[in-house]
């Protein structure tokens, strides 16, 4: 059962309005998230990430297609599904006049197991350094988000659906959050995490789906998506960059974005190294540094639609 899918989306589509005023928020999304994985759902604002999550939670209804979680229909079986999931919304709003502790008790009582859940909530709050005795209106935005994370995780759900969870958290808390996610994975639980913090996705996710303009552009393992064809090359010459070298490299089809900085030429290269090695042999090469693209760059490459650069 290790690879059994927990979330299944088939042709999931959502549009608003009709006729000329119709806006497509999500188009024919087909995606599976497997048990025990941390799935990163990447996209810029307006790409359709939150729409997808709200569809999964049955807060909004699809125009076409559908989705299942734990093999159950997200609409028909929403109450049973919600029993087994934890959710953190991107635009987190909590009851301003209530203290964190009171909200935890409220949510725990709706979940029907106050004692066990509250005990775990206290542990999580301690790990995240959250004072639950304060009213929500008195909490900073970072502490509100911590409270949101506690509420999402306090019943140890089988599936966590997190929409931009770490924005506004300080780096130490983010580190704690990453550790919690690792523990979740180790316990065989599943996380569906929407984010635009790519370094975070790179650090904790197993697979990544990239969404743009409501369309899923790619689904790959983080490892594989990092293994794309382009690289950044820094060539350091002993004396100076030979005259005309920058222009010469810039004319090569496999090389783009050539820039000079003192004795160093930096460029982006696709394909084999041999043409580059031959081209730079006019000068004395002191060192050659090859840098894999960051997830941010891959992300941007997907968004630019510049497939030949990948």
């Amino acid at each position: 059962m290790a690879s059994a899918s927990i979330i299944e989306m088939r042709g999931l589509s959502k549009s608003y309005g009709s006729g000329a005023k119709q806006t497509v928020a999500l188009s024919n999304l087909n995606l599976s998230v497997n048990r025990g994985e941390i799935f990163g759902y990447l996209g810029p604002n307006g790409a359709g990430k939150t729409t997808t999550i709200r569809l999964l939670l049955d807060l909004i209804r699809p125009s076409q297609g559908g989705a299942t979680i734990f093999g159950m229909d997200v609409r028909a079986d929403s109450v049973e599904i919600h029993r087994r999931i934890g959710f953190f919304p991107a635009e987190l709003s909590l009851w301003e006049g209530r203290a964190g502790k009171q909200i935890i008790h409220y949510v725990a009582s709706v979940r029907g197991d106050t004692r066990g859940i509250v005990k775990h909530a206290d542990e999580l709050a301690e790990r995240l350094d959250l004072d639950t005795s304060k009213k929500v209106r008195d909490l900073s935005s970072g502490n509100k988000r911590k409270l949101g994370l506690v509420i999402a995780m306090m019943h140890s759900p089988e599936l966590l659906i997190l929409d931009e969870p770490t924005g506004g958290l300080d780096p130490l808390v983010q580190q704690s959050f990453h550790s919690m996610m690792d523990e979740y994975r180790d316990r065989g639980k599943t996380v569906f995490l929407s984010s635009h913090v790519l370094s975070e996705v790179q650090a904790i996710c197993d697979r990544v789906g990239i969404l743009r303009d409501g369309e899923l552009k790619a689904v790959e393992s983080v490892e594989k998506i990092m293994n794309v064809e382009f690289s950044w090359i820094d060539v350091t010459f002993r004396d100076a960059v030979p005259a005309g070298m920058q222009q010469k490299l810039g004319r090569m089809p496999s090389i783009t974005d050539v820039s000079a900085n003192g004795k160093v030429l930096r460029m982006r290269m696709v394909g084999d190294f041999d043409p580059l090695l031959r081209a730079i042999s006019d000068g004395y090469v002191e060192s050659l540094h090859i840098e894999e693209p960051t997830l941010e760059e891959i992300f941007l490459a997907y968004y630019s639609g510049d497939k030949e650069k990948r």
């Binding site: 709200r54 939670l57 049955d58 807060l59 909004i60 209804r61 929403s78 109450v79 049973e80 919600h82 029993r83 999931i85 959710f87 919304p89 635009e91 987190l92 709003s93 909590l94 009851w95 006049g97 209530r98 009171q102 409220y106 949510v107 009582s109 709706v110 979940r111 029907g112 949101g148 509420i151």
Partner: protein, 268 residues
């Protein structure tokens, strides 16, 4: 767990209930304390000199005799056009059932829990209905305090009937607000529509009462305010068909709101 939303809603509301209840009770107390200051016979003569439209506007129908009594004075002073005052609390509560939480965004968290939308709505409705009962009880205690403090002789049973008759009226207004809010989705739009509903009802009732014996009288029958007439309740006691009408319409509006809320999307 069943009842969690009900209990939490009461916890979030009890202070407002007390503030509203105490405020309205203070008004009731004041009116009762004013009773000895007026000569009711002079009051009756004065009222007879008023044109019917003016009397209708302050909630007095054709039975002027009832208003020459102490109870009648309280009925005019406090309950006469009180539906407009008492409409505010149920409107505020009705808005809280769905529109406020949707606008604030807290409904996303609540509806991601293992509880159906219908259960959320019913439990909130019942909690706010309970808070209405609390407000009305406080109003009655205010009247009773006036009787004790002012040594005023009042028909306690009659005033109790006028007071507790407010419960079905206020629950009806809350149910109407809830339905309008579920249909309108946005708090500001819903509030505008509810305000229009109450004001138009007031105008229709006034027109109907002022134009007695004419075709326009039937217009008043459309207004829900027509079915809360303090003088009529004082003279006749609980008018059960009217109470049943309020209850039935409230139930119908609750069912309609439940159906719509289950079907529609939750606003972002």
């Amino acid at each position: 767990m069943t009842g969690s939303v009900f209990i939490e809603t009461l916890k979030q509301t009890w202070k407002q209930m007390v503030y509203w209840g105490v405020g309205l009770a203070a008004m009731a107390l004041l009116i009762v304390l004013m009773v000895p200051l007026f000569d009711m016979q002079q009051m009756a003569s004065l009222l007879e000199s008023f044109p019917p439209v003016i009397l209708a506007m302050v909630g007095i129908g054709d039975d002027l005799a009832i208003f020459t009594t102490n109870e009648g004075f309280v009925a005019i002073g406090f309950f006469g056009k009180s539906a407009l005052i008492f409409a505010v609390y149920p409107v505020v509560m009705g808005m809280r059932i769905s529109a406020n939480e949707e606008d604030d965004g807290t409904s996303d968290v609540l509806l991601s829990l293992p509880i159906s939308r219908g259960q959320v709505m019913v439990e909130k409705f019942l909690a706010y209905a309970a808070s209405i009962v609390g407000v009305v009880v406080l109003i009655y205690l205010g009247l009773q305090a006036g009787v004790v403090l002012g040594g005023v002789e009042l028909d306690v049973v009659g005033l109790a009937e006028v007071t507790f008759y407010l419960i079905p009226l206020m629950i009806f207004i809350m149910a109407a607000t809830m339905l309008i809010a579920v249909l309108a989705r946005r708090r500001t739009v819903a509030l505008g529509l509810v305000t229009a509903f109450v004001i138009i009802s007031y105008m229709l009732q006034t027109i109907g009462a002022a134009a007695e014996g004419t075709v326009a009288e039937s217009v008043g029958a459309i207004s829900f305010l027509t079915y809360y007439n303090a003088g009529e309740i004082l003279s006749q006691g609980f008018i059960w068909p009217h109470i049943a009408g309020f209850a039935a319409l409230s139930a119908v509006m609750l069912l309609a709101a439940l159906n719509r809320y289950e079907q529609r999307e939750i606003a972002v």
